[in-house]
Symmetry: C2
Subunit: 132 residues, 2 copies
Amino acid sequence: MRTQQLATTQSRRTKQRDALADVLARTDRPLSVSELREAAAKRIDGLGIATVYRAIGALLDEGAISAVEIPGEPTRYERSGKGHHHHFRCEKCDRVFDVAGCLENLRKLVPPRFRVSEHSVTLYGLCAACAP
Amino acid sequence: MRTQQLATTQSRRTKQRDALADVLARTDRPLSVSELREAAAKRIDGLGIATVYRAIGALLDEGAISAVEIPGEPTRYERSGKGHHHHFRCEKCDRVFDVAGCLENLRKLVPPRFRVSEHSVTLYGLCAACAP
DNA sequence: ATAGATGCAAAGGGTTTGCACTTGA
DNA sequence: TCAAGTGCAAACCCTTTGCATCTAT
């Protein structure tokens, strides 16, 4: 996150950024750029993809949203402040869901003298809506 | 992995594929596409990038290699047959290590009616060589 | 007024595909 | 022989950037 106080540039309020921030703030699951754009485009006609990316960059800088990287998938974004959690990707509908909780003993897996500072866990399968 | 028996096409032995498969078979750490190409290009002059990707696809299909997807990193590939394991990426030396073992209760994390079929765990930190 | 924001189009980086040529079986 | 494999270039997908125009402040 870039320093805001020392920045020589100011961030402006625009209907595009408001709409994008609002979509992210109201959604609990991580959204891909295209999902985000489609949702915001319902309110902002002709919303450009570059604007979406630039807004995402600004929101990341502010710490308002976080990137969710699923291996082999384009980056998704979700609002910050949900606490520690991981993600579940439905292999049928491709949506990604939050998974509350975590396994505390992950660090026990590593060899001696290895120091674990972070971890990423992604589960794959079928979500409730897609499960038979 | 695609079905081999029912396939109408046969796989051929070529010096390009031999070289690529050999590089992967001899290397214990996961290799990126460019690393793989560079290593194989020492033996095969003019090795095309498309050939590398097609060979990777074939090897994946055969189950000879597996993709190692680390969030935010280019896909790497490693030989198969190491059994279930995960990966640890050292934040100092950037090397990726295999992590044996796993957590059996991962599936308990998901909401009701969600079906877990696979999972990916990546640990980050300092490896034994880089830890203070 | 004016620096920041937007939209478009072009450019990048990584991966895939179409096609004519080459080669293994 | 002749389908599979190769190399090249073009196409693709996702993301970033250049630029003229618009707009929040």
